[in-house]
Symmetry: C3
Subunit: 285 residues, 3 copies
């Protein structure tokens, strides 16, 4: 199984699928995760991947959110438990890789033959694109064979196809080299002090729900929170309040979300990705 995620919109993802299907002989399953990841936003994209990919069985995950396309940033392959991730070396793969690896380490059957320690489930390799059996097209204006602007099609899809087609362990592939210093990306954590949380908006979803980085237990035992200067009721679900009314709740990612029933929390609260917000637990009146 190969999953595909990008910030490409349409129609570029289809070219990646063509490359995969042309290079792979088997009837491999292709699954679109989304091609509407926040454009060029490595942090918010990393959040979505971390929340979605762990629901999948072992797969090759092709991820292209790549504002540095065409520069000398590396292409990498990450092994995280039984999953493989392919994408640019800009950090977007790391948060989900850590979660997949941790899940693998915790599982009774997670100790594979080559696992030797707590971090054994996570390994990063850099890719020598020219050493693939069917090399990726060479970029540059002169040749016009590959592109400097669409590595999803010309670099990352061929790598994913090569991984799907090989039976050899990653360590035996001449086009992969262990990489000890991948570019990392760490999602911000909320600073919680007593009843106050200094939070960051990790993402705004398609419904306009504002997903903060405050763990859901922050809402336990209180009926209201102060969101910056606004008193907001705490609810179990959207329908805990009337239509059009704001509500703070524990969202499906386990974090505090700021929503509006049948409306868009982001516009109502004036909060967007990467912005800061202060939450305060209010005693029952």
């Amino acid at each position: 199984m190969i999953t595909l995620a990008s910030d490409f919109g349409s129609p570029y993802p289809a070219a990646m699928k063509g490359v995969l299907l042309e290079r792979i002989d088997s009837d491999v399953r292709l699954v679109d995760i989304t091609h509407e990841l926040p454009r060029g936003d490595v942090h918010s994209s990393a959040f979505w991947l971390r929340e979605i990919l762990p629901y999948f069985p072992p797969a090759i995950h092709l991820v292209v959110v790549d504002p540095g396309v065409g520069t000398d940033r590396r292409a990498i392959v990450v092994r995280a438990g039984d999953h493989l991730l392919v994408g640019p070396d800009n950090g977007v793969l790391l948060p989900v890789a850590r979660r997949l690896a941790a899940s693998s380490d915790q599982r009774p059957d997670g100790a594979s033959a080559d696992s030797t320690g707590p971090t054994a489930s996570l390994e990063v390799f850099s890719v020598d694109e020219s050493a693939l059996e069917t090399p990726v097209p060479t970029g540059g204006k002169a040749e016009a064979a590959g592109s400097t602007t669409f590595h999803g099609r010309d670099v990352f899809a061929p790598i994913a196809a090569a991984l799907e087609e090989t039976d050899r362990p990653l360590e035996g592939l001449p086009w992969l080299s262990p990489l000890s210093d991948p570019v990392d990306c760490t999602l911000p954590t909320a600073a919680i002090d007593g009843d106050t949380a200094e939070a960051t908006v990790l993402a705004v979803d398609d419904f306009g729900n504002v997903i903060t980085n405050v763990p859901g237990r922050f809402l336990e035992g209180v009926d209201r929170v102060l969101v910056d200067d606004e008193r907001v009721p705490v609810g179990e679900t959207f329908a805990s309040v009337e239509r059009g009314e704001p509500v703070a709740l524990v969202g499906s990612h386990g974090y505090v979300e700021l929503d509006v029933n049948d409306g868009r929390g982001s516009e109502a609260f004036g909060l967007f990705v990467d912005e800061h917000v202060t939450l305060e637990r209010l005693e029952s009146p």
Copy 2:
């Protein structure tokens, strides 16, 4: 085969696919119907499902348009002929289920072994989520194991997976109970009196075409209709009028549509979902 339809946009449908693929051993086919159903609009979503799902061969149809997520509304499974539908008990499944069942009753081979009467092809079951072999995660803030806001991932996808994995008839599944009083949803019918139709807009499609609930035969034999106060030519197809001009025609659902050639009928007529409109057949001048 499992089809997926929701009003989720992106990227939440991918989490449902992950759950399905993780729980199902076979190489089941997954088909996206759409994840752009009219958000939170049970009636208009029910219209689209009724118009599209009957083109499919027998399948499990996973449908999530669920403004009451997290409340005590039930999860249901509907058997309609050879099709199974999974979704919330809010009526969204019933119009398509009735059409699938009627189609099954009409077919020579539609009389399955357990069909005993005219309504035998349509049965509704409520789901005891805790009794599934792999139970769905338990919702609620305290546990944070399941969610109160994403039952597509945490409740409905696991149910669809369980249906796909079982070989037993629905009657033998301990987690299903016959339900005699599902929440229903009936699409409005037009009131036609002579040459006048009091109509409702069932849907506006992606082209802006206004789909009314007036059967297409209303347009037989006339060249023009009065749409509220506007005289509109009747055509065979969009190109029956010049670009930018309005036209009334029999759309692909068999209903009268109010369109604009290469334009958006909805904006031109000022008509949106659930609104009322009066159509009047005009004698040829």
Copy 3:
């Protein structure tokens, strides 16, 4: 394999998939190319198909960009090398068909048994819809059996299904007739005179990048170009300039693109599909 491309948005493509899956017995792979082709724009859609479909292995490509739906324009099948294309006879299939055929003629294995000349790889057939084994529904208001507005579902998908299901060569199918005068569509070529190119915008992609029809080699050896009256630096990739700054580069289609790093070139340059633009190579200062 059947690929699907249209300008339908959502949810109409699902009805086409239902028809295909209902009529085809095998576990054929369906691949969405895109359903966001430029609406009703035959030229720009033809560009996208020409740039994407050649990445695919041999397949049946179902294409519906059909502003003349319901008129007497024909339905056609095109054989281009090992690929088959199905769609309306409005030219949208021809540019990609020529490219697929040329690619087939150039390949060592491209000379199939019935190839007898340089154009042998490209043949066009018109479809007699009534002669299909499972005929397509008959359109027209009176019967209301087929539609005059949704031939993707009622005409083209059944044709693609029939092609998938048959083992016979196209010449033996009674519902296909060779067609010598298909409606053609030729993408405009740039007029290059010395350092000046009179260009046309072939497409604007989802990132807002302006794709001209000037071959990439036009940028060789210069650092700047004049775009109408604006001096624009030539770069290797988006990141060659600061965020928000314009750049001219060789895009992934091999043409000169006018882009903005992390912005939308189309709005910045005020250039949209089919518009003309003059490019001039500037000597290094």
